[in-house]
């Protein structure tokens, strides 16, 4: 193993260990805080696959997130007894369905047009969810109970906040490793080549459209998974999370943390939420004013984000 790779894995192990121990030592509020950062971090990572690696800006990830959330809700409300794995499945299917649409458009639209279309998509779903009260609970959303962690014949246990955190951590860690594997594979290299110079990639002979479609599908599925985790943790699904501003916030996490690094967006999410906590002490609910200013300043002066300097090292 090369020295930088060893360094990376040591760092990874340290962070993982900290996250495992966290729920045992932190007070309730901060425990939830860390769990939520992991979930939003997963959402941000899924977006990084598109923004950071393929160069496709999406303002619509709240749609994938929301459909994962509502998909899980559907499973937990309609199937008795509530089944964890079914919730995950339904959520992924829901997010996957939206991803198919978005994937189709991604191949026909470039840049700004794609960004605006994804934004419109998340709003379409927002409006549908908001107004279709009979099915989605409309404005009030849906509430449901948490399923047990059950493997038939092996174990069945209700989640405690600590074990739920570990479950989320496990899912997010596996997702991270999976995404890392994808981005460092030949497939991931082609994605990056598309980001750098799409016409040239096409000229070399790669079927750019196919790569984009797969990238969108993967991104959508991981985002949907984040939505499922959120539903599991909070036991409700609400249209607020599908509103396009949420998509925008996820883009904020990516940019602040550093695009194209996978861990950057997670750090960006953590940074954002920490800032929110900090500023809420002084500005109550108007924390977005200073946070927004910081974000805008970062876009101008620190566009590579907090962890952007690690980009090359993380992508070896």
């Amino acid at each position: 193993m090369t020295r930088s790779a060893a360094g990376y894995w040591i760092g990874f192990a340290v962070v993982l260990a900290l996250l495992v121990v966290a729920p045992l030592v932190l007070p309730e509020f901060w425990r939830r805080f860390v769990t939520e950062i992991l979930i939003w971090g997963l959402l941000a990572m899924s977006l990084d696959l598109l923004i950071g690696y393929t160069g496709m800006v999406s303002f619509g990830h709240s749609a994938f997130f929301g459909l994962g959330m509502y998909g899980a809700a559907a499973a937990l409300l309609t199937v008795r007894p509530p089944n964890l794995w079914l919730a995950i499945l339904y959520g992924l299917v829901g997010a996957g369905a939206v991803a198919v649409f978005v994937a189709y458009f991604s191949t026909r639209l470039r840049d700004i047009y794609f960004a605006i279309t994804t934004l419109v998509f998340s709003q379409i779903f927002y409006v549908i969810i908001f107004t279709w009260t009979e099915v989605t609970g409309g404005e009030n959303g849906l509430g449901f109970s948490q399923p047990a962690f059950a493997i038939p014949g092996v174990v069945s246990a209700r989640f405690t906040p600590v074990t739920l955190h570990w479950f989320v951590l496990a899912v997010v860690t596996v997702s991270y490793l999976g995404l890392r594997r994808i981005t460092q594979s030949p497939f991931g290299m082609v994605l990056q080549s598309i980001r750098e110079n799409e016409p040239r990639t096409r000229a070399i002979g790669y079927h750019v459209e196919r790569y984009k479609i797969v990238a969108v599908m993967l991104s959508g599925l991981f985002a949907g998974l984040a939505g499922v985790l959120y539903a599991l943790q909070n036991k409700f699904a609400a249209p607020d999370f599908v509103f396009f501003l949420v998509s925008g916030e996820v883009v904020v996490f990516n940019v602040m943390g550093g695009m194209g690094t996978l861990v950057g967006p997670v750090a960006g999410a953590a940074f954002f939420f920490l800032l929110r906590e900090l500023f809420s002490r002084f500005f109550t609910e108007y924390y977005l004013i200073p946070v927004g200013i910081i974000f805008t300043l970062m876009v101008i002066f620190v566009p590579q984000g907090l962890l952007g300097f690690l980009r090359r090292r993380l992508n070896q």
């Binding site: 977005l288 974000f295 805008t296 566009p303």
Partner: protein
Amino acid sequence: MTIPFDLLLIQVINGIVTGMILALVASGLTLIFGIMDVVNFAHGELFMLGAYLGSTVFLTTGNFWLALGAAVIGIGLLGAVIQTTTLRPLLGRDPLTTILATFGLSLVLQNYALWQYGPVPRKINEPITGHFSLFYLEYPWYRLLVAVLSAAIIGGLWLFMKYGKYGIWIRATTQDRVMAAAMGIPVPLVHTVVFAIGAAMAAASGVLFGPLTGVNHAMGLDFILRAFIVVVVGGMGNLGGSILAAIFISLLEAFASIWVSPAQAVIVSFVVLILALLFRPTGLFVPTPK
């Protein structure tokens, strides 16, 4: 199922009225994009702040026209400041950065309005009250005034661009900013002025729209989405196209709200966008490039 004629007529006129306001907002947006390749995410907030500023002036003076004037000047200046501080350093960078920067700004401005003005909606009273008779219906004068004023402002803009002394500078910079600079046109200044004009137009729309639904901090969000759709459907940078698209989409939405709630009618505009992007990605109202 037959639709009563009077309902149809009212919806057509409503569609045109909303369309004109939307056209006013979208014109500013497309002007800004055409000249400096900036997708101004904060445009909805400029619209909203214009309405709030107008409502404050209205509260103290009771005069609609003063409110309109104050909003136009105040937000125009704000636009100039925003462009100079935030957007000028980003000139020449990836267009994504300007979308992000203006998105960050929109978050700041939105919450600033919430902080400064509170969550309770404000009111602006229309300068002309009363209705006139349209066939056997009553239709408010004010709505007609709104359509006429919007048209007048857009018309004024068009005249300025075509015949005004600095109109040539703006049009030249829009077509080729490098050669415009080589001809001695102070391009950075032109950019700032155009952004300010776009902001002022958004603010005017906000004040005009205020009496119709009240002034609240979320009004920008609603409009910005529609404005983006209009600009894309009409062709980015295409002023005439934006106006036509705005009216077209508003008419469709007005018809749709006969059957569904207004919240759902907005899906119509989304569908139009998607269809337009599928079949005519450069814009429905843009002449086919040769």
